[in-house]
Symmetry: C2
Subunit: 277 residues, 2 copies
């Protein structure tokens, strides 16, 4: 069943990367003024800043810190590099705690030429190596399956089924999944897999954008909701029916959009959020 | 189990698109001189030519006509456009028969914004509408699942599992599948699905190339075997273990390769075929 149309901005969250030209302060100011309810903070947006102070500023502006994006990238050929990734993820968990983000989104990683099975094993080991610290700080970890076109170098977890398998195998209340329509819309098994993680209370995040035809770039040509072919409202219906009541997070990487006036871009996002999400 | 290394060219087939700058006569001449055993003919390579004559020339040069590429593109919003696609596929079947190709490879199609379920229904109807003519001419139809990054506009069939479902539902000895490593390598279910169609004798074609990191273009940046991350030999092992004894078809779309000297490119293909397939 399709979700009900969106009538207000109370569940709208925007990822800072969506308006990349803005520094964090600008994003906070403009989002809050527009009535946006939450921010997902990309690490590069707080590079060199005090995350605790950044978190306070967001909350003082009346918005929620929805997530810290992104940890992960566990696989590596050398053990010392895998340990470095684990150490980095421990720091990311600290950053999330300081920021006041409930969870970190994980782009799990992959190594070109290493088998996907081996990468998935390393991903699981990497997550498990940070669980104790996640528990100490109360930070959850959201496994985000990435589109199969990123299986070479960005993630060996490419369907929600695989993310669910991994979350269930790790079997920690701290580990769940992030559902991003861009990565998952094509999967004939998607509705069933959303029900599966919903039943376990493991949907930690819901990300929206659109898939344009043609897509000119594998990374930086995501579309605004309504510009493409993704049945966003239908998938939102599945996610909500599965018990998820969190934010609808707009996460759009687009070279073309980043070069336009960002205030105008923000207004287009608000309109598309109401009309096509 | 990995396939045995390749020691000769007796199963090497090249798709004419791989050396796109060459006209069909040049491709026939150069492939045959290099010891290539088979050609898969793209329709644009015989546009304006007599397909029967083209087929004779290929066989006279000592090569097999492995397939005609490509039919399909069944889905459309309007019924008259779906009928037009069916009519075109009937002509393609005639072309394959004239050429002496045993089968047509089907890129099934998709319509941006139309649900993938509806497109798959239209694909099935389209294939079924051509079955009688395929039977009269003895031409088989190979459903080729395409990578999920083409689900918007090129194919609503994106995994071998889906292609198998469709081939089994249509349930005709004329309908099978084409296994292309570029589209399918990432799928955790691939080995099982290859066994499944192998058991039914439905593997009609096996296509090879590689996935480069980074991939600069969604369509025209395929890699030569060995340039990327696809475990080609492992997948070939699965296909052969499933009973497939046909050609290994090199199908590479690459703007960069098409601009290089095609004789040198052909030599690189021969080397990579022996070393990395």
């Amino acid at each position: 069943m399709e979700a009900k149309p969106i009538t207000d901005l109370s569940k709208l969250c925007i990822h800072t990367i969506t308006t990349r030209p803005w520094c964090l302060d600008d994003a906070i100011g403009h989002y809050a003024a527009a009535g946006v309810a939450g921010i997902s903070v990309w690490r590069q947006a707080i590079e060199g800043l005090d995350p605790a102070r950044a978190g306070r500023r967001i909350r003082e502006a009346g918005m929620a810190v929805v997530s810290l994006v992104r940890g992960g990238f566990y696989p590596a050929t050398e053990k010392k590099d895998r340990q470095r990734a684990i150490d980095e993820n421990l720091r990311i968990i600290d950053e999330a705690a300081a920021l006041g983000a409930p969870h970190v989104v994980l782009v799990c990683g992959a190594v070109p030429g290493q088998s996907l099975e081996e990468s998935r094993k390393q991903i699981r080991e990497g997550i498990e190596a940070t669980l104790a610290h996640a528990a100490e700080t109360g930070i959850k970890l959201a496994i985000e399956p990435l589109h199969p076109m990123y299986a070479d170098s960005r993630s060996a977890v490419n369907t929600l089924g695989q993310a669910n398998d991994m979350a269930e195998a790790i079997d920690s209340p701290l580990v769940g999944v992030a559902v991003d329509v861009y990565h998952l819309w094509w999967d004939p098994d998607l509705e069933r897999q959303i029900r599966r993680c919903g039943r376990l209370g493991k949907i930690l995040a819901f990300h929206i954008c659109d898939w344009k035809t043609p897509t000119e770039d594998l990374l930086y040509d995501r579309g605004l909701m309504g510009e493409g072919c993704i049945p966003i409202r239908r998938i939102r219906g599945w996610v909500e029916a599965a018990g998820f009541a969190g934010f609808n997070e707009v996460e759009i990487f687009s070279t073309a959009r980043w070069t336009q006036d960002q205030q105008q871009w923000l207004q287009e996002i608000l309109r598309a959020y109401r009309e096509a999400s």
